[in-house]
Symmetry: C2
Subunit: 159 residues, 2 copies
DNA sequence: CTCCAAATGTTACTTTATAACACTTAATCT
DNA sequence: AGATTAAGTGTTATAAAGTAACATTTGGAG
């Protein structure tokens, strides 16, 4: 495990990097960065699967030994969504860190109803086709929610 | 306005028809049909746009002069979803009657954030492509949530 | 170092949804 | 038509998800 001194202690290099990237994205887009946002985002990166706002609240409360309140968590979540570095899984009222924050913000989520894990499809073709179809009906699409529920590879094999 | 005696009074022929169809679908799939379900479904058909469970509750309460409770409404909604004749718009916590209950149950919804109206895209190609892409990652999809938010034709023109 | 819009802390509340259990009824079978 | 019974409803209470309002604090630009 490499030694990092440029950000707060984290046993995982990727996360430390992601936190730096997040901060940069925030600054560039005129948002501030803050302790709460760091903690919320870091926690989301660690769990690496969708969690509800209240689950997240409990995790942050325990990990950082603070009495964080729903409103604070929701505010951080809103900000992180604004930045495009996390996403809400609408069909689960849950939140998840994006796989590659630096590009493309129309997600296609694969939600395993068995283990709760999440995966993404990266197919711009589908996104494009959707926009096109919508446009043909005179609809200007601004945001796409696309979530497939089912069983992931691992769960399907195990039966 | 045509005279109908075969179902409870309704000023709209399509709805009377839909109620009959709904009842048939329910019976065929082993579900029962009931007064509450009739009222909930009928109300959804009338409003013809997404409404929340509690909005629906109020409408049913007023229209049928009864003191209907949340649990009852949610139970009816669950049943109607099971029958495939209504759908939940996950990103709005709202429910809407399906356009053609008798076929195809993977919807693509166009939700206008300006007027609240809803439209659907009928493109099996996209549905198929999604399943295919998911399958390539070993994911077996059972349910698809696909909602585009934006501005509908009418609202876009008006500016 | 100052400043102040942006963010947080806190309290209270609203909206959305479900659990549990007694009671009622739709539809099937005689 | 009347009995039967699983499916559905009524009711109470409560959980889960999300927001409003306002006083206080702070990140980061100048």
């Amino acid at each position: 495990m490499t030694d990092h001194t440029h950000h707060e202690a984290c046993t995982n290099c990727t996360h430390t990097h992601s936190l730096g990237v997040a901060q940069d994205i925030a600054r560039k887009s005129g948002h501030r960065w803050s302790e709460t946002r760091t903690q919320v985002y870091h926690t989301l990166l660690m769990v690496d699967k969708p969690v509800t706002a209240y689950e997240l609240l409990d995790m942050v409360a325990e990990k950082y030994e603070r009495d964080v309140k729903p409103a604070s968590v929701y505010r951080s979540l809103d900000a992180l969504i604004d930045l495009g570095i996390i996403a809400k899984i609408e069909s689960a009222n849950a939140f998840v860190a994006c796989q590659n924050p630096e590009c493309e913000h129309q997600h296609i989520f694969l939600v395993c109803d068995h283990c709760g894990q999440i995966d993404e499809i990266s197919d711009h073709g589908i996104n494009r086709q959707l926009l096109k179809q919508a446009a043909e009906q005179g609809f200007v699409a601004r945001k796409q929610i696309l979530e497939l529920h089912g069983e992931c590879k691992a769960c399907h094999i195990e039966g």
